[in-house]
């Protein structure tokens, strides 16, 4: 089973890299981009076959290591 974890800065946390991307898009002529947020995607190959168990395990991984929940939120998808 595969899991895909998406880690994003929480809303309200200023994202200087996202802002830089927004400015760069503007200078390339892409008008109308009113906001950019940059995050990361982490794909995991799991030996676990039970979806509920897998999700519980991946959420624990997010809390312990994959996300810093002070500023980041995460989303787990099983694929």
């Amino acid at each position: 089973m595969k899991a895909r974890v998406t880690v994003m800065l929480k809303s309200g946390v200023l994202d200087p890299q996202g802002e830089a991307i927004r400015h760069a898009l503007g200078s390339l002529g892409f008008a109308g981009v009113t906001g950019v947020r940059q995050g990361k995607v982490i794909e995991l190959d799991l030996a676990e076959t039970d979806p509920a168990q897998a999700e519980t395990a991946v959420r624990a991984m997010c809390e312990r290591l994959l996300a810093n929940t002070v500023i980041e939120s995460y989303r787990v998808e099983l694929v």
Binding site: L14, P16, R64, L65, N68, V70, I71
Partner: protein, 222 residues
């Protein structure tokens, strides 16, 4: 007094930190990230600057899960002293020993220069040799030094006099111009600037010596 300096893969200020401790009179031992325990009788642990584990995932995140980090946590829980500098500060926040996080510099650039810091409190064993409000010149060298904490946490740091140093001119966008913070028991200090690089006049500044001298004196009294 005994100091231990940790080395992670990618640490690059570990030797400088060991030299600064030794110059202040500490007996220094070096420890490796895979060690499960600190040497017996260690009074202070130095977590140095650098790029532990290549800054992968988040700065300090992987180092915070190292075997030695569990030993550092036990040491801190027993009331031991811990000094985290630059990447070491990032490691300590990732471990949860200090509140807040260090985000990408607001200007997005790596900042490498000597800056003026203000000593925000002299009420700690890391800063007692300085006067409150004293200005000192200490180098910074980081890409992720933008200290960020929620409003409640910031109010708490201020209320408890736990901000150790602030920048006279903010180089990275950090909240409240914060350059270094103390733990609740005031025995864990994390700071982005490098006092260990400012211990010889020939290197541009010796203002960092006060921090190591404070520690030596504070521990002798403790």
């Amino acid at each position: 007094m005994k100091a231990a300096v940790v080395t992670f893969p990618g640490s690059n200020c570990d030797r400088d930190l060991a030299v600064a401790f030794a110059a202040a009179g500490f007996e220094v031992q070096r420890v490796w990230h895979k060690d499960n325990a600190l040497p017996d009788g260690v009074d202070v642990v130095g977590v140095p600057g650098g790029f532990s584990f290549g800054d992968y995932l988040r700065c300090g995140a992987i180092a915070a899960q190292s075997p030695i980090s569990a030993a550092i946590r036990s040491h801190a829980d027993r009331g031991g002293y811990v000094l985290g500098i630059c990447n070491g500060f990032q490691v300590l926040t990732e471990m949860g020993l200090l509140p807040g996080v260090l985000m990408r510099n607001a200007g997005l650039r790596f900042v490498c220069r000597t800056v003026t810091l203000r000593v925000a409190t002299a009420q700690s064993d890391f800063t007692s040799a300085y006067a409150r409000g004293q200005e000192i010149r200490i180098p910074v060298a980081h890409h992720d030094g933008n200290y960020t904490i929620d409003a409640e946490g910031l109010a708490r740091l201020r209320g408890e006099d736990r901000i150790a140093f602030t920048y006279a001119e903010n180089p990275n966008g950090s909240m409240g111009d914060i350059a270094g913070v103390l733990s609740e028991n005031r025995r864990v200090l994390g700071m982005m600037p490098h006092p260990e690089r400012a211990t010889e006049p020939a290197l541009g500044s010796a203002d960092g010596r006060g921090l190591f001298a404070s520690l030596m004196r504070g521990m002798a009294l403790a």
